[in-house]
Symmetry: C2
Subunit: 224 residues, 2 copies
Amino acid sequence: MTQEPLPARLPVTDRTRHRRLREQGSLERAELEAILDAAFVCHLGVLVDGRPVVVPTVYGRDERWLYLHGSVASRSLAGDTPVCVTVTHVDGLVLARSVFEHGVNYRSAMIHGTARKVTDPEEKLTGLRLLTEHSAPGQWSYARRPSRKELAATTLLALSLQEASVKIRTGAPDDGDGPDAALGLWAGVLPLTTVWGTPEPDPALPAGTAVPEHIARRAGTRHG
Amino acid sequence: MTQEPLPARLPVTDRTRHRRLREQGSLERAELEAILDAAFVCHLGVLVDGRPVVVPTVYGRDERWLYLHGSVASRSLAGDTPVCVTVTHVDGLVLARSVFEHGVNYRSAMIHGTARKVTDPEEKLTGLRLLTEHSAPGQWSYARRPSRKELAATTLLALSLQEASVKIRTGAPDDGDGPDAALGLWAGVLPLTTVWGTPEPDPALPAGTAVPEHIARRAGTRHG
């Protein structure tokens, strides 16, 4: 837990070297952080009885650590254990002239490392705050914060952001300058956008309970 | 590859038994299929050098098999190898009175099994058709189909849909009838919706190339 900043350039390791599609890889830490900050659900890969299991879970982060809600995975995380966390934004379908060149525009970050269970109460509270504010900015101040008992009942995992890689695909199909361009077919991208909708009040709420500004202002804005 | 239909009720195994949040689990095959059909990118977990690696990839399916574009993962799939495929829809943020009860409305399917590389040319073509039509209905008829050479250059994986589980959360927060309801805080769900945008033509296209109807009609429709 040294406080030196992580380098802006992600390190190349056997697991983060881009073997395929090199042009799509990035090792800029700023790109990693942008991808992480634009989502709040990741896919966490762990080993259970020697087999991979991939569970969706929520996360938050600071400069150095990814904090993950670890309840689902916790039974397989008795000690320090290798994990892989992947966050993916699907930005659109790439519709080429040939089926072979079809693809997806996406932004994906993959973090490799060893997850540790957070046991220090102060770090746990910090991690939970980061996780809450990551998905629901403003809620840490607005909602009731965890009691000591709730804190104890929460499993939080920390994963270093040291070893990570990023892959991004953007833009048009790749067969616009090949022989298939002569086929006269339409080609391009069908974009996908995720947006926040109108807040849906809990039916149990007393009538007239106002939606707080930090929630209301997200309605209609783009997510991801 | 027997042709008996898979049972409508997914089998309970050590890996699909819902240990936690039992109320959210489902073992209805129809729910599994609905979740798979509403997305086209999954997260594939494989073992690489004994560690989990989670890669996003596209897929399609029939009644019995999930077909996955396997190029990224293929270097680690020399033989039959255990995999886990997870497909997740994030439907909204659950904003409770207490931080502890915050959560996510989601639909998630998890498939466990052993991936095999598809080598039979006929099955490979079928699998690629399913995969293409899954993400881009109509493109198998419209675009140029794979040549023999392209088919050979494509790595396709098949995973049985036999062993799978589904988890779904919907609805309001869980603390509407507890002591925190007296706090007078707003609580509810902030929904997330993904929509297809307007087709973006490849800049390399000749002016006036019409967007085919099977692509144009998706614009503005909901995805997921």
